[in-house]
């Protein structure tokens, strides 16, 4: 009888142990594509801070520190048998997905995550804000804006542009989208598009942004026709874009940590890949003033960086 009771306790204990999350039972392995890249490192720092506060253990593997990273990574995964793998950057995700396809995987900072091979049990935080977030903030800064124009390549950006149009319409904004097949068409397309719009939007399309010359062509043409340019990255601010809104990288790390903990307890919110929750905003006041383009002054407390003419 005593032996039966002992086995009952043992079975109960085993059941309990298999149900506890990886806070108690295992580690999180963080794979960083390149620890020398500031944004990857910042994401990793914030992620570690949050999971550590919540009692989780972690180890880190930076691909740039190993000449035979793929082989070393496989070894590390076998040795540590982590409960969850957090991949920062596309390279980290691709290698982890190959090395441990059945593990719980979480990714962030992956460019164009839609092209990744995502299996069941994989979650992520996207690298870019959703177009709806961008348009909401854009609308807040420029409430009088009615028509926005953009160039795109239909093969690369068809879906994204359709989403932009739908999101813009919800806020009463009209998008005029002009497709191009080759960067050589940019000049003519701009001549046609710019007179019809209040603002030009640079989206991350590889045909439109074929190189520095293409970007220069867009910004020069917009300046000549006195049209402000909005961009998805602050890299274009120095070249004359009036506003740039992008994802806040520290928030991506914290958001990923929350997702990791939700994966642990199987209480994951709907959707496998979340948009980043934080934004960072750069306003080129010099360019706005020279265009005499009005913006909502009350929005200034949301701006991270204001670029003036004296820099």
């Amino acid at each position: 009888m005593k032996i039966i009771n002992f086995y009952k306790v043992l079975i109960l204990l085993t059941a309990c142990l298999t149900n506890v999350g990886f806070a108690q039972s295992g580690k999180v392995l963080i794979i960083n594509s390149d620890s020398a890249v500031y944004r990857y490192e910042k994401i990793a720092i914030e992620f570690k801070k949050i999971i550590q506060q919540n009692g989780y253990q972690w180890t880190e593997f930076s691909l740039d520190r190993y000449p035979e990273a793929e082989v070393e990574l496989k070894k590390r995964i076998q040795q540590e048998n982590p409960a969850l793998i957090y991949c920062i950057g596309t390279k980290a995700y691709s290698l982890a997905h190959n090395a441990a396809p059945t593990k719980k995987l979480l990714f962030s900072a992956a460019i164009n995550w839609q092209r990744l091979d995502i299996g069941q049990g994989t979650y992520g935080v996207a690298n870019e804000l959703s177009s709806a977030q961008e348009i909401s903030l854009l609308h807040y800064f420029f409430p009088t804006l009615k028509t926005i124009g953009l160039l795109y390549n239909d093969n690369f950006s068809h879906e994204y542009v359709e989403t932009i149009k739908k999101d813009a319409l919800a806020l009463g904004l009209n998008i005029i989208n002009q497709p191009i097949n080759d960067p050589q068409e940019i000049g003519d397309a701009l001549n046609d598009l710019l007179p019809k719009i209040d603002m030009f939007w640079i989206i991350s399309d590889p045909i439109v942004l074929n190189g520095k010359e293409s970007v220069q062509k867009i910004l020069q043409a917009a300046q000549q026709q006195k049209k402000p340019v909005y961009a998805y990255s602050d890299v274009y601010i120095d070249q004359g874009a009036v506003l740039a809104i992008s994802a806040d990288i520290a928030t991506i790390g914290r958001q990923s940590a929350n997702l990791a903990m939700a994966m642990d307890t199987n209480k994951i919110p709907s959707g496998t890949v979340q948009s980043p929750a934080g934004s960072t905003i750069t306003l080129n006041k010099c360019a706005l003033d020279s265009l005499q383009f009005k913006f909502n002054q009350d929005a200034l407390d949301s701006v991270n960086t204001i670029v003036g003419c004296d820099k």
């Binding site: 409430p143 590889p206 934004s279 204001i306």
Partner: protein, 270 residues
């Protein structure tokens, strides 16, 4: 090859974007604290990393109005270490001031900030329609701007003694600003958000659809929006600094700087 180059270009933009963000992250150290009469600034209620812009804007203005400086801080500890000598003004949140006063730091309110005619505001806990009441916040994510301890304290106050136990089952997602927190609810990254009341007004203006989807679960007590404090009663130098601060709303350049802090002016406590 033709298609690799543009993708490489976009990748470069992505990487260098992080680099520029890193460059703009100017964290002052206590060693760098100036001996000149200075306005020291730290706000527990926001995470907007706009110190370089704040410093540049205020310094240009203050240099022409008495030769003063603004020293913004990212870290609470560094800001607190700067509270040592008389002759300076400390700009901080009401919550932070109370905390310091409890630690017997002799800071006193000299001016209070005004925004749209108000000197005080409440924090609001707003949720999506699926969260009918606070008890449904268990195992959810609440987005908020501000320091972690501040957000935790506000949430505790809003939940009240009856629901305080929920705190351990709620995950807080710290975001840079109120608008990010509110949009995070609209876009499904969080179930609820804590924001200032005027944050909700901004959302209504920015995205009326999302605003309509939110409902209020609770309010915090009213608190001053921002405080200008001195160590004990203001002396002659501090009175001069406070005058400069109060007069900022009278000129365009001053107004623009105040907008960076989300305020319209300063007034004396009635």
């Amino acid at each position: 090859m033709k298609r690799t180059l543009p993708i490489f270009f976009i990748f470069f933009v992505f990487i260098s974007g992080g680099y520029w963000s890193a460059q703009s992250n100017v964290e002052p150290t206590v060693d760098a604290v100036d001996a000149e009469p200075t306005f020291y600034f730290y706000n527990t209620e926001t995470n907007i990393n706009n110190f370089a812009t704040l410093k540049m804007g205020f310094d240009v203005y203050l240099e022409n109005h008495g030769g003063y400086y603004l020293q913004p801080f990212d870290l609470k500890e560094n800001f607190e270490k700067s509270i040592q000598e008389k002759g300076n003004i400390y700009l901080l949140s009401s919550w932070h001031l109370k905390e310091l006063q409890q630690k017997k730091v002799p800071l006193e309110i000299a001016l209070v900030a005004t925004a749209k005619g108000d000197t005080m505001q409440r924090k609001v806990l707003s949720a999506n329609k699926d969260i009918a009441n606070v008890s449904m916040l268990k195992n959810t994510v609440i987005a908020a701007a501000g320091s972690e301890e501040y957000v935790h304290s506000v949430l505790k106050q809003i939940l009240g003694k009856g629901q305080e136990a929920l705190l351990k089952d709620i995950k807080i997602l710290i975001v840079p600003k109120d608008l990010d927190a509110l949009l995070a609810v609209g876009f499904g990254m969080a179930s609820a958000a804590i924001s200032a009341e005027n944050g909700l007004d901004k959302l209504a203006q920015m995205n009326p659809g999302h605003f309509r989807e939110l409902h209020t679960l609770g309010f915090s007590e009213k608190d001053y929006i921002l405080i200008a404090a001195t160590l004990k009663k203001p002396n002659q130098q501090e009175t001069q600094l406070l005058k400069v601060l109060r007069e900022m709303s009278e000129v365009e350049a001053g107004k623009a700087n105040l907008k960076l802090l989300g305020i319209d002016g300063w007034s004396t406590l009635k």
